[in-house]
């Protein structure tokens, strides 16, 4: 069974093409290390993919080029449509959704390969069934987990965290079921002998069903603010699923590319967890927040301590400021305030103010979420500072504007008092001369604990929707400086 290319070229040519594709993927990632070369890197990586797919399609005998072509056309069309029509604020769920499709494809490929091998009279060897089982479990968990995560980010699925023993028991039960089905698949692949059902490899589909339920129950209890970790972890899974599929099919391009993605997702996961000072286990199974028994505590802290301010007063502060740091949070994304914030920063910059963004690694709903939003609003990337860079500068900062962020600026994280965020690295905005906190209300952030920052003497609250408040600041500042 050989395609056009295979008739004329030695076997090694296919491997060589895969090697080139692998090099392109790696070079593409290397170019991603700098914003200037990143676009080119993405294109190089896409070229590698194009090469790998083209060569594979031409190499293997495609019995039904019609079906393959139709699949590519349908998938490509949907992909382009989704990418072009998506709003920037919906980016996290779209990335999650795409990720799920990758995992789902891995699970389907492994199943199809099993059926195909059996139908063409081959025997199901242990390495084939074992890797198919792994690809099936990871792929199904990734698919359903990603769908739930995307649903949470899109607001279709409730995003509050829940941690129950029943939930844990269900997870263990279905993980067990998937593993048992996998063992059956490996040990007794042809359990049903010659019955008509046998050609379907039922044990594989039992495994897929159990892993699917597991994927759903794994992500449903995890809160919305922990989605950056979940999305990054699922990204890693889909890479590992691809690598495992590579082991099933003996395909080197799949192994290299899948492993790169697996590493990327895992590194992002670790970065996210470290930025919250929480273990991965705690994120996945802990069910942080959700309990509101801190209510009284909150009144004690805030009572009589909250100073409210107005856009006019803030502008007066900004007029005399030499250095301003803006700390964006998920609230900025929700209100789609990034353009207004960017305009304010531009204005300040024009008037000679040293102005920067201080961005916490877990602000938002996916890794680098704030950076992506601000880039969309044309903020130069050299104005976006990471936590370690910006923290030492707060003591020389006149005004810190916190826009829709809460837990990531909570000074309680620096105290070892056993609060849910204790030990988490935070932006020490309180060291600035004046702190302006723009929020809709005093309600707690995801961690569910009050924020003593709001009650500090040098903090003023600018209550209101982030977009409207920032727009007011822009207008007032323009008027004042004209």
């Amino acid at each position: 069974m050989a395609g056009i290319l295979a008739q004329y070229l030695p076997d090694a040519a296919l491997q060589l093409a895969y090697l080139i594709a692998g090099i392109l993927f790696i070079q593409g990632l290397r170019d991603m290390t700098h914003p200037r070369t990143a676009t080119r890197g993405n294109q190089i990586s896409a070229a590698g993919m194009f090469l790998a797919v083209l060569v594979t399609a031409l190499w293997f005998d495609i019995v039904s080029p019609l079906i393959l072509g139709a699949g590519l056309l349908v998938g490509g069309g949907i992909g382009v449509w989704l990418a072009v029509t998506v709003e920037t604020t919906e980016m996290p769920q779209l990335v999650g959704l795409f990720n799920g499709f990758g995992g789902g494809a891995s699970a389907l490929v492994a199943g199809a390969e099993l059926i195909d091998v059996l139908a063409s009279g081959g025997s199901l060897s242990i390495d084939l069934t074992a890797t198919a089982a792994i690809a099936g479990i990871i792929g199904s968990v990734t698919f359903w987990g990603s769908l739930v995560a995307a649903g949470k980010l899109h607001g279709i699925v409730g995003d509050s965290p829940v941690s129950t023993n029943v939930g844990h028991a269900i997870k263990v039960l279905f993980l067990g079921a998937a593993v048992v089905a996998g063992l059956v698949l490996v040990i007794q692949p042809e359990m049903l002998g010659n019955s008509p059902m046998a050609s379907w490899i039922p044990s594989y589909w039992v495994l897929v069903a159990a892993a699917s339920i597991l994927g759903i129950f794994l992500v449903v209890p995890i809160g919305g603010a922990d989605m950056p970790v979940v999305i990054a972890l699922l990204n890693s899974y889909s890479g590992l699923a691809a690598a495992t599929t590579g082991f099933v099919l003996g395909n080197t391009a799949l192994i290299i590319a899948g492993t790169l993605v697996g590493a990327s997702g895992l590194i992002l996961t670790v970065i996210m967890c470290e930025s919250m000072n929480r273990s991965l286990t705690n994120v996945l199974f802990g069910g942080l927040g959700g309990d509101d028994d801190d209510g009284e505590d909150m009144e004690d802290i805030y009572e009589g301590q909250i100073q409210e301010t107005s856009p006019e007063e803030v502008v007066m502060l900004l007029e005399t400021a030499d250095r301003v740091v803006v700390v964006p949070g998920y609230g900025m994304a929700v209100a789609q305030a990034q353009h207004a914030v960017a305009e304010l920063v531009d204005l300040l910059d024009e008037h000679g103010v040293d102005v920067e963004f201080g961005i916490h690694p877990v602000a938002g709903r996916m890794p680098g979420h704030m950076n992506a939003l601000l880039a969309e609003a044309d903020v130069p990337y050299d104005k976006m500072r990471e936590l370690e860079e910006v923290n030492p500068t707060f003591s020389q900062t006149d005004v810190a504007i916190v826009c829709g962020a809460n837990d990531v600026v909570n000074p309680r994280a620096n105290e070892d008092d056993g609060s849910p965020i204790s030990g988490m690295p935070v932006l020490n905005v309180a060291e600035a001369n004046t702190v302006i906190v723009n929020k809709r209300s005093l309600s707690p952030g995801f961690s569910g604990i009050p924020n003593p920052l709001f009650a500090r003497d040098n903090t003023s609250m600018l209550f209101g929707d982030a977009k409207e408040s920032m727009q007011d600041l822009v207008n007032d500042y323009k008027e004042a400086t004209d």
């Binding site: 795409f98 494809a105 389907l108 050609s199 799949l254 192994i255």
Partner: protein, 98 residues
Amino acid sequence: MATELSAFVTNLTLFVLAAFVGYEIITKIPTNLHTPLMSGANAISGITLLGSVVVAGSGSNGLATALGFLAVVMATINVVGGYLVSHFMLDQFRGGGN
């Protein structure tokens, strides 16, 4: 069996080396670019498309072909969508760096 095992070890070698290369490169990518990185890496994971192409093409079995077709559609969405989304995002980063 011996050749199967050595093929597995060869694959394992690739896996381990790729993991090291991935670790070295990806830890150097700045936080700024983590969203496009994720979306781009995501597109790469759609490499399962290769597997789908092989499976959708190789067999005469109707069910395998149908599953293969579905896998091709899903993997293509992942690849095309992932690269495009990354591209749009990265374009904005470049536009902002004037």
